[in-house]
Symmetry: C2
Subunit: 719 residues, 2 copies
């Protein structure tokens, strides 16, 4: 059909490019997050081949209604922008066309806007003096506004309205579908001829879009990326590559379309294709520089710095696992990123985005990332988030999705009330040789129990008393069962699993160390676990920073902070000695040279920049600077500094209202906090002195000082 | 970031425009239907304003895996096309890039292709000599192909694979996202000056894109559409309009972007804007011309022809309600379109598409179109489809979605086990003044009961014995309850409803007439209903062709075919006398002139081309030509011709294998069938004679002849 389209009153997408004063783009909560995560997670390539996730990807609601009521003191004009086709109702009356401006009279005004968009997220931006889009607009994906034969609208709506989703798209031009992370140009630090090609070194592991300069001639340039030099040069086995075809190029620069992770790039030409130098567009999530750590130990400082850079690289549209390979959102990995983030950038928005993206949409047909344990970390992450931020609104908005996911879990229990991997369930726990996933693994029951406790806490927060009681009851019953079925008095440990209703002989670290910091054990049981499991060389060692995190946390909780400091320096320091510029997915000190780069049966399968490698940030912040919120959002908190082998340390820990600053030497502790009420715990050989506060004696050479916000405390003591 | 993108090995959509021999585009079943129905249903405008549906719109799976195994006798090369990013695995091994050609060796070959597409439906087309995409490829939205630490893929997949969806996109260039209905140019039949503008008449109600010829000058052309002349000229109240802006036009033709329904178009210019004549691009679904009807009664022939044209206009991407206003898929309306279609085009694909689009996706959060009765019609439509087509494959593929929707219904029953409108449920029944929807309406229970029987039948078909028993039990219990609660012996009728556990006084036609053709009543009860309800002038009359369909069907089932013939001529003939060129949404013979066009409190709110207006096609085919399948797919069928007031009639009724042709006069019946085994029922004053078959005497002047396929039967008899 031949069509000549003139200026019609109807266009598909109305976005106008001038900025406004107030308002923010809003959408159905979770929809932008799902849409953006689909995009991000489908950028993975393996040697040039598209490599998508293997779990269900969800989609946004294509048709969404937004509304809010106002009571205006004065007339005002508003501007309306939407991503998608839309209509506008003012006080129940539909307005002609797709109005971009609207005059509102004094008094009560109800504005409804309905937006349709199949390809992108239906989104709305309204700006005016007092009338503008914000988080208090309500949204629904079905307004059920039918009429009867006289044209009267239905009066019994079963519509569920929820508060709109939003982020920081605060002007009209900055619409959600256009979101891209920013980039900046970075230069290569070295370049050298290698065989038929050129090896370029960017000095450290990095992420972004490679630019080749002054392309010339015709033919092909094959680009092999490496997190290590070995990988870049291994053109048959490196994990990522690009091949670009040139035709009669005469000297222009070219930046590749798909981002990659690399420190080294090896480029081999074919034909007359040539280039002269390389740079890159470094892509990053802008996060405020808030948490910090410095000490008398340069190695430890380096560990903290490299951990911070590792976090910077793996904090993207969402918290991802690692930059080279998957670039997917893995719930267990993200759970650790959240924790590190609370001691680094305190970037709540990225935590919320990641939690929303992981949950996806109904119906729930499998565990998050298909992994049973990853479902449970998702629950745990939500109460943690509340504890650090005090953001009750988010808990209220996510609570229904928590409920339905928990129901999914409870429905999958076996006749013993335990969770066992059903067909399609991945029981992951850790990357560890020969780790059994058979039968009813104790670790999964423990995480389910903690998740039920989390449900009860959140139910209480959102005022769902019945739910709270139900979840508490389930948790209590399950906890009893866990001790009954798995605790082995003789071994002083939880057994790894039950098979066919019988406890297995196997003892692993996982359940035991989690039980420590979940505070499930008596003092005697704790001691037994410490001696017989955690400090027992015969129990299979952990080879991933992922689980080392929890292992060291458990040891910290048991007071073994000197030991943990040593381990931290050994383990993360070990990677640094091997030239690491970011921390790895797995590190086994017994391996040699390029052996370190192999994983999953592939020569360079291992990710050398993995978010779970960055845990020293968390450990140092929480157990050495010693800052922990004890009431939501740092309304209350404790500071329990511990120097271990250090002469001094200093740092900042972010809170919802600025940073807590701490300086600790063997004789003096300085603290200042912008928020809440803190308790400084001091271990001292002498009675500490503090001009700004009252020193209280506790027991065994321990003292406390109550901290009020805004005051600089100095305590003289002797470590 | 500045990017210069060269030829990369990675492009987003790979569609190549040369045709191939074999193969068809495939997708996740239902996904194309959901996607296309979103597009279609969001084209409604009301006086230029976008007017979307008020129920939840679903979306396709954005990431889908397709696979099939082959055993090749010889090497062959295949071509691969996808809508979206994709990867290909051959025998479990991922191939580099996005291959468009692939050589397959002899022997077993397993091909997996994974396609990602957020904006459109992930779709695949593979063509080769023996390896090509067809309906036997399997699809999933989560393949759960995780690996362990050694790189070994998981061996316990919980993946559910289903057979791929497809239609008729049989060459590579014809990809699903490009689907558009065809159009052809139609001319206006008259044009005249009216006030400031021009009134154009297209001779009959039609649908498509208006073309204005030789546009000139600058300014605006306001275009007002009317299904009636009155509507087109009512520039303040007509239902649809377009306004186009011209700037220094010098004589080009212009076709509007958005389709409209109209017989008349009134165009008013502003400024120097002008045009010279109009035509239109008539948009239509190509459907084979199969069913036919002709008789000695010219008025009846006209009724059939106009009904056929009404069906043609409302059969589009899907069966819609009407062409002017909603253009949405309404389950109750579609249910009637299916039935008419079985006596007209026998277009199974459009029936399946519509059923899939109506069901949408999980989770089920409300009734279909939010209407309780419309959910039930959806169930009923599926077994009807099977009965007419014998297509068991579709029943198997839709059965899981039937199960979950039935569960949704059963979960909404009250403590009495009855369905009552909950918050957000629309109890529709019919457009009728003052029709009560309060309490437990008997009509809804009756439809639920029939739906449960349908579930049992389908469960049996797909070999789900337990389900069959369960649904049968539920249906039996509910049926008993319906008689117990609603049957009023005194009134000889079902009561309309129960409120607060008490039967109401009200008797309406709906439950009573449905109970007739559901065959729920004893002979005595049938007689009571006929006399006290159906032929009782005191019971509120039905004003929609929608419910007249069922009313007349019930009367036909009760043997009142003479009466029904008269009613058909009166009612549908009445619309013709008012100049109808298509049949209406509602027709009340008592109204006058332009009163007929009003509805919903709007002057031109009524749709003058409504699919449910076309039911004479069904009634004439089923009760006068008298053809009904009695075993699935016309393996068995009956023909029971009835002339009523006609001298003769002839026609064709489509079956899965050609048409049954019938000619009936008062002395002779001629029949030929291409399929199954039929039974011709003859009412005759004399013993009929038939050379080609054996005449069997039944009772009361009725006889039968068994019909074999392919034989032309001639029966001499006396009506």
């Amino acid at each position: 059909m031949k069509k000549l389209i003139l200026t019609l009153g109807f266009v598909c997408t109305a976005i106008f490019l001038f900025a406004q004063q107030s308002g923010t783009w809003i959408w159905y909560p979770g929809d932008f997050e799902v849409w953006l995560s689909n995009d991000m997670q489908n950028r993975r390539t393996e040697r040039g081949t598209f490599f998508p996730p293997f779990w269900k990807m969800d989609s946004h609601y294509v048709l969404v209604e937004f509304h809010k009521e106002f009571d205006l003191q004065q007339e005002e004009e508003i501007a309306i922008y939407a991503e998608g086709k839309y209509n506008v109702k003012l006080n129940g009356k539909m307005l002609p066309g797709m109005p971009t401006k609207l005059k509102l009279g004094k008094g009560k005004q109800k504005i409804n806007v309905k937006v349709y968009n199949q390809a992108q997220v239906p989104a709305l931006y309204v700006s005016g003096k007092t009338v503008f889009t914000d988080k208090d607009w309500l949204a629904t994906y079905e307004d059920k506004e039918w009429i009867d034969e006289t044209g009267k609208a239905s009066d019994q709506s079963g519509t569920t309205y929820v508060k709109a989703g939003y982020w920081n798209f605060n002007n009209a031009a900055q619409s959600p579908s256009k979101f891209r992370l920013p980039t900046r140009t970075e230069k290569a630090v070295a370049s050298s001829k290698q065989g038929k090609g050129t090896l370029i070194d960017f000095g450290k592991n990095t992420f972004g879009f490679l630019t080749l300069h002054q392309l010339k001639g015709s033919g092909e340039l094959s680009i092999y990326y490496g997190e290590s030099k070995e990988e870049a040069l291994a053109i048959e086995t490196c994990e990522t590559l690009d091949i670009i075809a040139l035709e009669k190029q005469v000297g222009k620069d070219s930046t590749l379309a798909l981002s990659k992770a690399f420190r080294y790039v090896y480029v081999e030409p074919k034909g007359t294709a040539a280039f002269n130098g390389a740079s890159m567009e470094y892509e990053f999530l802008p996060v405020e520089d808030r948490g910090s750590f410095k000490s008398s130990d340069e190695e430890l400082n380096k560990i903290w710095d490299v951990a911070k850079y590792t976090m910077e690289l793996t904090s993207r549209e969402f918290y991802i696992d690692g930059i080279k390979r998957d670039r997917w959102i893995w719930s267990g990995d993200a759970y650790q990123s959240y924790a590190m983030n609370y001691y680094l950038g305190f970037d709540s928005e990225t935590v919320k985005r990641t939690i929303l993206a992981l949950r996806g949409k109904e119906p729930t047909v499998s565990h998050i990332n298909t992994i049973m344990d990853y479902t449970f970390y998702w629950f745990l992450s939500i109460y943690d988030y509340y504890q650090y931020t005090g953001d009750k609104e988010f808990i209220a908005s996510i609570y229904p999705r928590m409920q339905s996911l928990m129901q999914f879990c409870l429905d999958r229990r076996n006749t013993d009330g335990l969770m066992q991997g059903l067909s399609g369930d991945w029981v992951f726990i850790d990357w560890a040789d020969g780790l059994s996933k058979q039968g009813e693994v104790s670790f999964e029951q423990l995480l389910l129990c903690r998740s039920l406790e989390t449900m009860a806490l959140c139910a209480d927060l959102v005022g769902q008393k019945q739910d709270q009681q139900r979840y508490t009851k389930e948790a209590t019953q399950l906890k009893a069962k866990i001790f009954d079925y798995y605790w082995n008095e003789q071994k002083g440990a939880f057994a790894h699993s039950r098979i066919d209703g019988k406890q297995t002989d196997n003892v692993t670290r996982y359940t035991n160390m989690f039980a420590i910091f979940f505070d499930y054990l008596s003092a005697t049981q704790q001691q037994a676990v410490k001696d017989k499991v955690l400090l027992n060389e015969d129990i299979q060692k952990i080879m991933t920073p992922y689980m080392r995190y929890y292992e060291l946390e458990a040891l910290c909780a048991l007071g073994e902070k000197d030991y943990v400091m040593k381990e931290m320096k050994n383990y993360w320091g070990g990677m640094l000695k091997l030239g690491a510029t970011t921390f790895w997915e797995e590190y086994n000190p017994d391996k040699k040279g390029a052996e370190h780069y192999a994983m999953y049966g592939r020569e360079f399968g291992k990710s050398l920049c993995h978010s779970w490698g960055a845990s020293p940030i968390y450990l140092l912040g929480k157990y050495y600077l010693g800052v922990t919120p004890t009431a939501a959002g740092y309304e209350e908190y404790t500071i329990e500094p511990y120097l271990a082998s250090l002469e001094w340390m200093e740092g900042k820990v972010p809170t919802p209202q600025g940073e807590i600053a701490i300086h600790v030497s063997k004789k003096k502790i300085k603290v200042q906090s912008p928020i809440g009420t803190g308790t400084l715990h001091i271990k001292s050989k002498v009675l500490p002195r503090c001009k700004q506060g009252t020193v209280k004696k506790l027991e065994n050479d321990t003292y406390s000082v109550e901290l009020k916000k805004g005051i600089s405390y100095e305590v003289d003591y002797e470590a």
